[in-house]
């Protein structure tokens, strides 16, 4: 194929469907990228992973009852499961000498295992929600979903739902930007202004759970963490300013969506995984060439790679 054909391939193969896929991937990735940026700044990146695993049994039970993947009950179920996981983690590490990282691991693996078992037992060989869906979501099946007529074209319903989620999250972020920034940077000062850390923390967890459930259906339980972390991490390496970081993260999700579609079409590979791999490639570029923290520039400037080695004792030796 000639080069030009490579570029137009998605449109040739899928027509307008290519646009829906890109939009869907973007609407899922955008809110994840914004909330995920704050998770990174608060060193809670893996909490997103834990949440995405923990909400699974709630989703299964809700789906079992409603038989409808678009039902709002799924969010309720997920929220309850997420709450249960937080309670379990606290019960373990506050009441025994098992530390938080192990408590988190015990909780989310148990809940996730429970979800898989429930899924197999209750749902059997269900096409809508099965092991494949857990692994990589249904993003690739978007074009087979029901559609609705809007502005003269048939828009797949999930795209509209996800657009709503994205808009809602961005509005929340706009409203609470200062609070989130302050409490992530200096929780004590935020507390002294009356922004209570516990309230903000649980509020954030709630919003993340909400987004995770939506993202889960698109990309599966395990890849959600990629959508949460990759954009923010890449942006973190590119700038020192928080607003710019959030903007770059949003851009990252857009490019990943487009790039993911291309990879999907070129290699005939899974759509969700392709979006993530594209995001990974973008991250790699940021790691090497990022204006602020890019390894290549630092190597040329002959500086030590980092001012001091990361001095946290969570998850490393």
């Amino acid at each position: 194929m000639k080069t030009l054909e490579y570029i137009t391939l998605p449109w040739d193969v899928l027509g307008l469907g290519a646009l829906w896929l890109i939009l869907m991937a973007f609407f899922v990735a955008l809110p994840c990228s914004q909330m995920g940026s704050f998770l990174i700044l608060r060193r809670m990146a893996l909490t997103g992973d834990a949440i995405s695993h923990s909400v699974f049994p709630g989703v299964v039970i809700a789906f079992f009852i409603t038989r409808d993947l678009a039902s709002p009950w799924l969010i309720v179920g997920a929220g309850l499961a997420g709450l249960a996981s937080t309670v379990i983690i606290e019960l373990i590490h506050k009441w025994t000498r098992v530390k938080q990282d192990a408590a988190t691991g015990i909780s989310f693996t148990a809940l996730f295992a429970l979800g898989v078992v429930l899924m197999e037992l209750l749902l059997g060989k269900n096409v809508d929600l099965d092991l494949e869906c857990v692994l990589h979501g249904r993003l690739g099946l978007l074009l087979e979903e029901d559609r609705v007529l809007l502005f003269g074209s048939l828009v797949p319903i999930p795209v509209l739902v996800m657009a709503g989620v994205a808009v809602f999250t961005m509005l929340l972020l706009g409203l609470f930007y200062r609070v989130m920034m302050l409490s992530s940077f200096d929780a004590d000062l935020a507390a002294s202004y009356g922004y209570r850390p516990a309230v903000i923390h649980y509020g954030m967890m709630f919003v993340v759970s909400f987004i995770v459930v939506a993202a889960f259906q698109a990309v599966g339980a395990i890849l959600v963490i990629a959508l949460l972390i990759l954009p923010g991490a890449a942006a973190y390496l590119c700038t020192y300013r928080l607003k710019v970081m959030l903007a770059i993260a949003a851009l990252h999700s857009l490019i990943s969506a487009v790039g993911g579609l291309y990879l999907h079409v070129w290699f005939n590979s899974n759509m969700a995984a392709s979006v993530v791999v594209c995001g990974g490639i973008l991250f790699l570029l940021a790691w090497l060439l990022g204006p602020v923290d890019g390894v290549v520039w630092k190597w040329f400037k002959d500086e030590p790679p980092a001012l001091e080695e990361s001095s946290d004792n969570a998850g490393n030796s």
């Binding site: 098992v98 988190t104 923290d293």
Partner: protein, 445 residues
């Protein structure tokens, strides 16, 4: 050299059971051993989430192994999986070293991108990678003799390495700075640790699957952690729990058709953990609750004794007996409640009831304990007021709590420190239980 290895391998063949359930049991034993042993370090070093990242990172290796080895040779798969895991671990460290990213972000990035890459690659080669589900969610029934041989060799390497390096590894987990000071090659040991971690992941792969293998690295070891304070015992218990979960999970999932074994094994491990969480003798939650309850009951009893003493003191030790009604008034409680508490004191020999049933007096044991409590209270008040410049209106509440927990050693220190005082800050005499003789009133003058 290869002949030696294959001779060794065929020697090991005698260990491998012939029938299906025998194989499943052996798989469970091997996975319990490797994950149980490594899990102890994972829990103690607080790197549980690193275990999760490494286990997800092996997926592309598994896919590569399935594609590039025609006969699905376990050796090839294990090798590629291990390579992917090590690469992932290395990238995490590199990321943390070369940028401002912290550990949680680095782990998440590696976890997700490696896993996504594996999924993407697999989706391209659907035919070659039939059976990848077995590696993702586990299928103990699919483990055959050649798989077992590979698992056995890997586990042996793991166990032997750990045996020889257990002291340095333990020391490093506890206090890395000190280990460095001792001249241990900390970086190399760390690398060895991640090697072992990857190996244990690879051993457990087919039974538990990539997605849930980190459960086996955390939950059995955490359960063991709650049962013992000795490291060797923790290792042993962790292995036992891992094996038990493996066998239970394998058996249960065999009952249900199509249920992957990984989740069931993980749930078995969790249930074991829950049982131990509740029932462990010292660190278990129920035992802690019992201890708190028993302590509260003791404090109630002692407060009752104190009240009886104070009534006597108020009357100048004139009467022998104290009535339940007076006690109820003093304590601000109902008579039924006082009667209930008195029964507890009675059964422990602190008091004796009079014939009329409404009055009681302290036994010798009761006097001793009552005097001790009052002495502790007043000594502590004196200490706080004199030495700690505590404001007078605050001392009483603090003494109410402390009087029950002062041990004899500390009491002696207090007495010496305060120069064997006779009066408390309010002018009340400090009792001397040591001088208690048959006549209680003599000791109180």
């Amino acid at each position: 050299m290869f002949e030696d290895v294959s001779v060794l391998a065929s020697v090991l063949d005698i260990l491998i059971p012939g029938n299906g359930s025998g194989k499943a049991i052996m798989a469970a034993v091997l996975l319990g051993a490797s994950c149980g042993l490594l899990g102890c370090f994972v829990v103690l070093r607080r790197v549980a989430l690193m275990g999760d990242a490494v286990s997800h990172a092996v997926l592309p290796g598994v896919v590569a192994g399935l594609i590039y080895s025609a006969e699905r040779s376990p050796g090839v798969i294990f090798l590629f999986a291990a390579a992917a895991g090590l690469l992932g671990a290395g990238l995490v460290r590199l990321m943390m070293f070369s940028t401002r990213l912290k550990s949680d972000a680095a782990l998440g990035i590696v976890l997700a991108t490696f896993f996504a890459f594996g999924i993407m690659w697999q989706s391209r080669n659907q035919q070659d990678t039939v059976g990848v589900m077995n590696f993702l969610f586990g299928n103990i029934g699919s483990i055959d003799a050649s798989d077992l041989r590979m698992m056995l060799v890997t586990t042996l390497i793991l166990v032997v390495t750990m045996f020889f390096l257990r002291r340095p590894l333990l020391m490093m987990s506890f206090d890395e700075g000190f280990s460095r000071g001792l001249g241990y090659p900390v970086k190399i040991l760390d690398g060895v640790f991640y090697f072992l971690l990857t190996f244990s992941v690879v051993v457990a792969l087919q039974a538990v699957g990539v997605v849930l293998v980190s459960a086996m690295l955390i939950t059995p070891a955490a359960a063991a952690y709650l049962l013992t304070d000795r490291f060797e015992r923790m290792l042993l218990l962790s292995v036992v729990f891992g094996v038990t979960s493996g066998i239970t999970g394998g058996l249960v999932s065999a009952e249900v058709n199509g249920l992957p074994t990984g989740p069931v094994i993980a749930l078995s491990a969790t249930m074991l953990f829950v049982i131990i969480y509740l029932l462990a003798p010292r660190h278990g939650v129920l035992s802690k609750v019992m201890r708190t309850f028993r302590r509260r009951m003791r404090v109630r009893r002692e407060n009752m004794l104190k009240a009886i003493y104070q009534i006597h003191e108020g009357e100048g030790f004139a009467h022998e007996e104290v009535s339940v009604m007076m006690l109820a008034r003093k304590r601000g409680q109902t008579e039924e409640k006082v009667n209930k508490d008195c029964r507890a004191l009675l059964s422990r020999g602190f008091i004796e009831m009079a014939e009329d049933g409404v009055s009681l007096h302290l036994s010798r044991l009761g006097w001793k304990r009552a005097m001790e409590i009052v002495r502790n209270h007043r000594l502590w008040e004196l200490y706080l007021t004199n030495e700690a410049d505590y404001a007078e209106d605050h001392v009483h509440e603090d003494a109410e709590k402390i009087e029950h927990i002062l041990e004899p050693g500390i009491v002696r220190q207090l007495e010496q420190h305060l120069d064997f005082p006779e009066l408390d800050p309010h002018g009340k005499p400090i009792p001397q239980p040591a001088h208690l003789v048959a006549q209680p009133s003599a000791a109180l003058s």
